[in-house]
Symmetry: none
Subunit: 123 residues, 4 copies
DNA sequence: GTGGTCTAGACCACT
DNA sequence: GTGGTCTAGACCACA
């Protein structure tokens, strides 16, 4: 987890994204305790309230749970739930917009495929 | 042009997008006068300062010009210029990010092609 | 709106209750602007963030909407929605608990009726 | 005695309620030994300090007594004392608040009676 | 140790 | 004017 921020998105939102990615790729296993608010706060030099705000978004999304006096814990099924939600959003919302823009800008499907293949190999 | 706003983008930005789209699809032909600030302001019930802000972004982008006492006019070459700029941004920035997300979410290129074809036929 | 707090409930929660009551009894009519965050903040001598937290709870409950740069507005249907929600919660959750406790403590239904009638007259 | 906690009340408070209910319904007879702190701690997987805190509340309420080296014992008269206290609190504090809410939400006394009867039969 | 709340004051983008 | 974000530091309840 780096601590390099860009400022077109609020810090807590960027943190939400990082945390979600960590859940997605399994860095935070289900049932496991998340790093404490103050730990992140110290490690990344951001206010604990800012961290808390990020955690609350995960809480609202049903990805983590709070145990009083103990901390935040990854809920079982969180990884799958997150993956499903992101995939659905991507396919139902982002992809159609992408295609729409392709039509508007006269970008051919071949160009997309080309970039897709390039990036596959590069990574 | 509807007047339904969402909240995740500033109104003036949403207006910029609408105006650019209108130039892109030829609704505002080159050399033609743009609707007056107060016309848009009234029609969409938004503050004239907000409209003005949107127009200034188009001015800065070199898509329109101001003729004193007459109003704003679409510059010649605006459509093509806009098309080129958007296409470049799309290919160099947006597409790679989307492809990256596709990889992360295990979305196949076939799904993109499928949606592409569906949307082609539908429109 | 008074500004006398008890401390068994966080200030922002107490504020939520006050605001909901104001919507319930029609003090804030639908479509009308809510008092600004800073206005309440000043009037009640509480931090604006605390007020904001309360407003966000109303936002999440779908009772008010935010208009960028303009403020918070009571949504149409808010009063009815709130009334329905509270009544449902009362009947499905609170009442059964009440009855359950009555049984446990051997409190007769007659006593409840008596208090009900007294309070009706008193108010 | 289950071990499923909710988050809107501290665990030790929830435990206090459970223990009181057990005294109320006679599960813990007067003069009888209460389960040891470590027994409850183990059975419910909660910290022994938390259990201790709950027991201290019962001690302060004069419902149990500590016999050095032997454990906690239900005081004689505990059941009746508890019943009286809870009944008084219920009638003087809880009922008026509920009735007040009934008026605000336009819930009729007939609905209460209906639910009362249903619950009587059901249990 | 955990998270929750609050303050006072700053700065920002938007209308 | 509107709300949003962030900080630094304080205090609290809970386990």
């Amino acid at each position: 987890m780096n601590n390099h921020w860009h400022d077109d998105l609020p810090i807590y939102k960027q943190l939400v994204i990082k945390l979600k990615n960590a859940v997605l790729d399994g860095s935070f296993a289900e049932g496991q305790a998340m790093p404490s608010v103050r730990a992140i706060s110290a490690e990344m030099s951001i206010n604990h309230i800012t961290v808390s705000k990020a955690y609350h978004e995960l809480l609202d999304n049903g990805l983590i749970e709070k145990k009083r006096g103990l901390g935040m814990f990854v809920l079982s099924g969180a990884q799958e739930k997150l993956l499903a939600a992101e995939r659905q959003f991507f396919i139902e919302k982002e992809l159609p917009m992408l295609v729409n823009k392709m039509n508007q800008l006269d970008v051919s499907i071949e160009q997309v495929i080309k970039i897709f293949k390039e990036q596959r190999e590069g990574s």
